[in-house]
């Protein structure tokens, strides 16, 4: 799968074109303008514009097939792994165009980490090696430093106390919920500027889900988090801002309180109250 970004230059748009009234944020972590993504002839995202606030949790909600996951993957250029993916528009990470001609997707992905729906630790690696794999890819070899970052990341992922005595055990010896927190630790170890989460708790039981949610609330003090979720209560519990997508379009974007108590659009209201989707 070639990494050439099949990208056509974004049409310069005035800021006012970002129609779905985005809540004003001082300096957004990500600014997305007119994002259109298609796979072959299938247009999955149609001209989405929004700002992602720094050090806050932004939830992306919407029915299946609305383009949530594609939106998330466009933010770290992971959608480019699909051979016929095409992207138009403009995405800036703290002002820097991540689709710029000189920007390597590898570098973007080091700055924008991701946690997936199903936990995917590297099964042949130990717990500690899983945490440090990103750092080692970056060339960090110093053992003390690696050990420090292992502890730090596992603490941030609220997993340290459970695994500190068996850091060399294989990662797959952990339970599902622990594996997912290990994946979060792995993503955090490289100190990303933004953390993308694609339904990180959907495969977990309620107890493990609660732990992940507590963790997300902790992490937003240091990281910018964008989370895709199917769980309305989850979005309401943990996010500061919520964007509602439908059929590849951004329908409404506002503070979570506003979206869930007094949405501006009928479609949003129908979805968050469970009338469709």
């Amino acid at each position: 799968m070639p990494f050439t970004s099949n990208r056509t230059p974004a049409v310069p748009t005035p800021a006012s074109a970002a129609t779905p009234a985005a809540p004003a944020t001082a300096s957004p972590a990500l600014t997305i303008r007119n994002l259109t993504v298609s796979f072959g002839t299938n247009k999955v995202l149609k001209g989405v514009s929004l700002d992602i606030a720094a050090r806050a949790v932004t939830a992306i909600i919407g029915p299946s097939g609305c383009g949530k996951s594609t939106f998330l993957r466009a933010l770290n250029r992971l959608h480019e792994l699909v051979p016929e993916a095409r992207m138009e528009g403009d995405i800036r990470l703290f002002g820097e165009d991540i689709y710029g001609a000189a920007v390597e997707p590898v570098v973007v992905r080091r700055r924008v980490g991701m946690v997936f729906q199903k936990s995917n630790p590297f099964p042949t690696m130990s717990i500690a090696d899983n945490v440090t794999v990103g750092l080692r890819l970056n060339g960090l070899r110093n053992r003390t430093l690696l050990a420090e970052r292992t502890e730090q990341s596992l603490r941030m992922a609220a997993l340290w106390d459970e695994v500190k005595d068996r850091l060399n055990a294989p990662a797959i010896s952990l339970s599902g919920g622990q594996q997912q927190r290990l994946c979060i630790a792995r993503a955090l170890a490289v100190k990303p500027e933004v953390l993308l989460m694609d339904e990180p708790a959907s495969a977990l039981d309620p107890l493990a889900t609660a732990k992940i949610e507590d963790l997300i609330l902790e992490l937003k003090r240091d990281f910018t988090i964008v989370i895709v979720t199917h769980n309305m209560q989850q979005a309401a519990r943990i996010s500061d801002l919520t964007a509602f997508f439908y059929l590849g379009e951004l329908i409404e974007y506002n503070t979570t309180t506003k979206i869930f108590t007094n949405p501006a659009k009928k479609q949003t209201e129908d979805y968050v109250t469970g009338r469709f989707g």
Partner: protein
């Protein structure tokens, strides 16, 4: 009445229908068990037949057969060592050449090749597996061996002549030529097995590595190869099984000289080619029996090498990975 019987919702008919289905279930179990046992019985039978055929030689030479390197049909002195040596060395050469090639090809096919190229390339590799052994042998004699004699071997001798492996006269027909033919024969097997194994690595593993900012090579290394290493080892073992028993093509290029030589340029012989070559001319009972015993030894070597490989796999390949998707 007829309706009542065919209607599963009528209470009285249920036990009968169920009894029939239970019988089917049991019959299915016994049938599959029988088929599985057939394989086992076949192997035992083959072993017994070989042992029976070789009892003369077994009685006459005993354990000396395995350690003696004398093979003299005229004075009826037989020892299997040169053939065991030849089998192991030619197979080792074959694997040393074929394994990196096969795995690199499989990685290219699953990870790097553009979509439109994957299918045609795969078909070509599978075609190579379909080339009959004897045709490969003919090609070996008329094309490969002369080329080796004129080009590759003199170059090897010049570059690595300080090693005993590459010293001595060059005939063309040689242990190295046999090893190269074996490499060609096991290449498609190891490649297609490896390809299947690499394809079974969940996409989620690759995405995990990509999301950490890994380059394509790093993704292949940390997410794909390490995930698949156990399966890849299995593919190599399967190729080794084929290499040990490969007969026709090897016989045609290895030179069939019963000796143990350090030089890979020297002609050698393998267990399988000795049997194939000498069966027709084996006149004496002891001679025939010795050939049978070579077959027994080949079976033994194959079983031992496989068992050893399984042991390595269990000891070093780390925790077993169950596919996640």
């Amino acid at each position: 009445m007829a309706m009542a019987e065919s209607d599963p919702n009528v209470a009285g008919t249920i036990p009968r229908a169920l009894a029939g289905r239970r019988f089917g279930d049991r019959a299915f179990k016994w049938f599959t068990l029988l088929m599985a046992l057939t394989v086992f019985v076949l192997i035992v039978l083959i072993g017994c037949e070989l042992a029976d055929g070789s009892h003369l030689a077994l009685r006459q030479f005993g354990w000396r057969f395995l350690v003696s390197s004398e093979w003299d049909p005229v004075s009826e002195q037989f020892g299997a060592l040169p053939f065991v040596f030849g089998t192991l060395v030619s197979s080792a050469i074959g694997l040393i050449i074929a394994v990196p090639l096969s795995i690199a090809t499989a990685v290219y096919l699953t990870e790097l090749a553009p979509q439109w190229l994957r299918q045609p390339l795969t078909i070509f590799i599978e075609l190579l597996a379909a080339v009959p052994s004897v045709i490969l042998g003919l090609w070996g004699i008329f094309v490969m061996v002369p080329w080796l004699r004129v080009h590759l071997f003199p170059w090897l001798k010049g570059a690595f002549g300080f090693l005993p492996l590459f010293q001595g006269p060059i005939y063309g027909l040689s242990m190295l030529a046999g090893g190269i033919i074996i490499a060609i024969m096991v290449l498609p097997i190891i490649t297609s097995m490896s390809r299947e194994i690499l394809r079974s690595v969940p996409g989620l593993q690759r995405e995990a590595a990509y999301a950490l900012g890994a380059t394509r090579w790093e993704v292949t290394r940390i997410a794909v190869l390490s995930y698949a290493k156990k399966g890849l080892f299995g593919a190599v073992i399967l190729g080794l099984g084929r290499a040990l028993g490969e007969t026709m093509a090897v016989t045609m290029v290895i030179g069939n000289n019963t000796q143990i030589a350090a030089s890979l340029f020297a002609p050698g012989n393998t267990l399988a080619s000795a049997i194939a070559n000498q069966f027709a001319e084996a006149t004496g009972d002891v001679y025939l029996s010795a050939l049978f015993e070579l077959g027994l030894v080949l079976l033994g070597v194959t079983v031992l090498v496989n068992a050893f490989a399984q042991l390595i796999l269990k000891t070093f390949a780390g925790p077993s990975v169950t596919p996640q998707n």
